[in-house]
Amino acid sequence: MRSRTIHLPGGACPPSALIEACQDAGRPPDMALAFLPPEDGLRETLAAMTAAWPDSLRLGCEAVTQFTGPEATDRGSVQLFWFDDPRHRAGVEVIPGTHGEPPSARRVEAVARRIAASDGALLLVDGLRFPAERFLADLRRILVSVPPLVAGGLASRVSAVGARVFLGERVLPSACLAVTLHGVSMRVEVVRGWSPASPVYTVTRAEGGVVHEIEGAPATSWYRRFFTVHGELAPMPETANRFPLIIEGPRPERQGLYRAMRGFDDPPGAVTFLGDVETGDRVRLGMGNERSLVSTASELAADPVPEAAILYSCTGRESLLGDRSGAEVAAIHRALGGVPLSGFFTCGEIAPTPRGNLGFYNLTAILVLLRELDA
């Protein structure tokens, strides 16, 4: 497999620039994966990609901050893939917009069959309007006996209505793309960088992403114990997301899942998270900083050396990185020996858990490492 990332210039991108970027490859790419800013030039860029590579699989999603090689950018990123073996390929399944409703069982089953027949799959999901967790739960039930590796990210909020995905020149709101890879070895690294910062407690009442009680007391009281400074509550939820909730078990498949806070005291006494928290989960607060995140990223080992990489890193990490939002991707790029890499800051990450597939993460960086299988 060969791969290359292209820095877009910002605004509408002329097809010639795209063609020129892959001239030395000798042929159009088999797949072009684009993470584009939600600007007015989106459709022009998609049209340029069509003009440049009319026969290639072109897809992607909107994102505020994208990665291109070692850099974080807001002008858009395109990663091109060429398979060495003509029998190897990428496919895509579209789950169209449902506007918050879960896709039909038949649709989920069809997608699951395609994923099960692949060597691995990438999911690109509208983070706000597509019911990702419900969809993942349905997929998990079907894929329980044949779990291929699945990873992906929820596109971060880019507008009031969410982030869109696109296939060719079709722009789809409230949708999900499932990219199936055939003849490709896919490996997933979960990059954390947080340390435990509190004792472990038990969630005594929770429902979906809403935690009502911890250790029998309102969840807000539990948070107030830590986040009250000089008699006042620190700004929530942004402060809390620098101290993510870490699920420590007791179910093994939930161990190591982090949760980012979405809302505090709404409903009253409760805390709302981006991912689900279950009654009985053992939880603690974690702590981290820019140094710990970058340091963890730099410790990644590239063995075997991948031919391409895609990084889904949580926007919560972006907040923590602050001015050095590119430091993490740079460290990863360096650790992987300069492998062609793209990606974006996400609003929820999908990756296997220690005891299962299709875990829903927050505040985590999911690194997908790709290498074409031998012919």
């Binding site: 910062a197 509190s198 004792p199 986040f227 400074v229 000089h230 402060t239 620098r242 101290f243 702590m287």
Partner: protein, 627 residues
């Protein structure tokens, strides 16, 4: 709230640290409390507990462990477990705990202390202990030490030993009991087979034990058994095993000795026993023993076979006059006869089950004009085989006595006699004066016989005063106390007794005063030649006179001619019985005609010597023969 994120995060981290510290302290307090609880628990339990580190060095011991090992905690902690916990085996040899402890610490294999092990205290005292050792693992599975839990089981072990001793020994004499002795015999037999080693088995039965028991009581009997035990133990070698098999029966396994050597040793004991006199209060007894001696050879297949041979030999010693040693020889005539007796046992049992015994009667004729007129007769027993052959009691009574069948036979005779009398026409019972039934020694000692007879009399309606039980002197003496008790009770009901075969046994006139008998039956051996032999005549006159002096009526048995009858009349004998007077006939057909055959006829119901065959007549009227 500060807007500086660093300050804010710092403050939150301090909160987190404080909370973590509080939780840690609470956890430590909880752990401390748990440790206290564990230590109090360990100190309170009744078991000894010793804990070591991974190198087998003692790190903890509870008060019970301190007491049992004799080590104080201060000196034990830091010492190797092998020094603190010193074990000894059954014979006192040191038993090393180090190797199993090493396995426990290195390989995680727990172990139990060996059975019958003892713990040697620091001061040398020993405790029987039981216990086990298990590795102590950290949360990561690593072995960090071992814990040894043990209990003082000295009392239980002593009790178990006592129970085991009780299970294998006779309580009175302390000798091995039958069950334990059988085990030793089996081993001796195995050895004889595999190694061709010769052992010998001595089986002995005291001759005078019952006399001592009955005349002086059980305490005296027990004392006699203990004295004989001492004599046996003094006479036999250390390797010989002496056992009490029950009652007055003893056995000795003479280990690794030839028959000659065994005979010599047993002979020495027998001599010692003959010299021995047992004194109880004012009475002194000479004690004899009938001894059977068997060489234990590979020819014996089983212990049962071996014991049976010894029993046969002992029986033969008795048969030959008691108080002697008899060596077992398989082809000896005595043993052959014993085997023959045993074959009778099955036939007797089958005859009882199939109701093939038959009752006969032989008339007893009054000779004195003072005698009340009426019917007097003795009930006689016959055994009818499946093929119709008829056996006299002489054929089978010895076997029945030997193998415990007399009780059943006596009861069958009593029940059947009363049943037969009941169904006779009314004039029969009116004229019946005496129906004599023979009663064995076993039945005389049977405490349930009275109730049985009481029930049968009530069921039959036969007046008790028409019954007379014939007993032998030997039978009465064998169980004198019980026999006397039964006879007194039956006498109160009106039943009378006759002393049978007088003149042939001990013929102790003293017993005539002791026993509540009404008739004295003069043995036919003296009667037969009473006309021609002056000695027999003198015997008959003597017995008759003594009987009359103490108020008994006399009956002469075996009367074979009119001349004998006349002589008996002249002597003054009260009754006569014999084939010349009336041959035996089926009980429901007592003789009606005159004596027709000069030959001998009857066999007594269940205990007398036979005198030949007799004719079997059909039922008829019941009248005494005219004389």
């Amino acid at each position: 709230v500060t807007t500086n994120p660093l300050e804010l995060d710092g403050a939150i981290l301090r909160n987190l640290l404080a909370e973590t510290t509080r939780a840690y302290e609470a956890q430590m307090a909880e752990l401390h409390a748990e440790k206290e609880l564990a230590q109090i628990t360990l100190a309170s339990i009744g078991d000894g507990v010793l804990a070591t580190n991974a190198r087998g060095v003692v790190k903890y011991l509870n008060p019970v462990a301190e007491k049992l090992t004799g080590w104080e905690r201060a000196e034990a902690i830091g010492a190797p477990l092998t020094a603190v916990f010193r074990l000894a085996g059954q014979s006192g040899e040191p038993e090393e705990v180090g190797e199993p402890l090493r396995c426990c610490l290195e390989e995680g294999k727990g172990f139990r202390l060996n059975e019958r092990i003892t713990l040697e205290r620091q001061d040398g005292r020993r405790y029987a202990v039981e216990g086990s050792c298990a590795p102590i693992r950290a949360s990561n599975g690593r072995i960090i030490g071992a814990v040894l839990v043990f209990q003082d089981v000295s009392d239980q072990r002593l009790m178990a030993l006592q129970l085991a001793h009780q299970a294998t020994h006779d309580e009175l004499t302390g000798l091995l009991n039958r069950q334990a002795f059988d085990g030793h015999l089996q081993r001796a037999l195995d050895e004889a087979r595999s190694l061709a080693t010769t052992h010998a088995l001595c089986y002995l039965d005291l001759d005078q034990f019952k006399v001592v028991n009955d005349t002086c009581g059980h305490l005296a009997g027990d004392e006699l058994l203990c004295r004989v035990t001492s004599l046996l133990q003094e006479s036999m070698g250390h390797a010989d095993l002496v056992a009490r098999l029950g009652g007055d029966e003893f056995a000795v396994l003479l280990a690794r000795c030839t028959l000659e050597e065994a005979r010599r040793r047993v002979g020495e004991f027998h001599q010692a026993l003959r010299r021995f006199r047992f004194t109880w209060r004012d009475k002194t007894f000479a004690v004899g023993a009938s001894i059977g001696l068997v060489p234990i050879t590979r020819e014996f297949r089983t212990v049962t076979h071996l014991l049976s041979a010894a029993d046969h030999a002992c029986y033969a010693a008795k048969d030959k006059g008691r108080n002697r040693i008899q060596v077992y020889q398989e082809d000896d005539a005595t043993f052959v006869r014993r085997h023959g007796e045993m074959s009778w046992v099955v036939r007797i049992q089958r005859t009882l089950e199939e109701d093939r015994f038959r009752l006969f009667s032989q008339q007893i004729q009054p000779l004195s004009p003072e005698a009340r007129p009426g019917l007097y007769f003795e009930v006689l027993l016959r055994m009818v085989e499946e093929d119709g052959r008829i056996h006299l009691p002489a054929d089978f009574l010895r076997a029945a006595e030997r193998y415990g069948l007399m009780r059943a036979i006596d009861r069958w005779v009593i029940r059947e006699t009363l049943r037969t009398l009941r169904v006779q026409p009314a004039p029969f019972l009116d004229r019946l004066r005496l129906c004599a039934i023979n009663l064995s020694a076993v039945s005389l000692g049977d405490e349930e016989l009275y109730d049985f007879l009481d029930g049968e009399l009530a069921a039959s309606g036969v007046p008790a005063d028409r019954l007379c039980f014939e007993i032998t002197e030997t039978a009465a003496v064998e169980n004198l106390v019980q026999a006397r008790r039964l006879m007194d009770r039956l006498a109160e009901r009106g039943v009378c007794f006759s002393l049978d075969d007088f003149g042939t046994g001990m013929s102790s006139y003293a017993y005539l005063k002791e026993l509540p008998v009404s008739f004295l039956k003069i043995d036919g051996r003296f009667v037969k030649d009473v006309v021609t032999d002056p000695l027999d005549r003198a015997m008959v006159e003597s017995i008759n006179q003594v009987g009359h002096v103490i108020g008994l009526r006399t009956v002469a048995e075996g009367v074979s001619s009119v001349a004998v009858v006349e002589r008996l009349k002249a002597i003054g004998v009260d009754f006569a019985q014999g084939n010349w007077i009336s041959p035996p006939r089926p009980l429901n057909a007592p003789a009606v005609e005159s004596p027709s055959s000069p030959g001998e006829g009857g066999r007594k119901g269940s205990g007398e010597e036979g005198r030949g065959d007799e004719g079997l007549s059909l039922p008829g009227d019941i009248e005494p023969p005219p004389l």
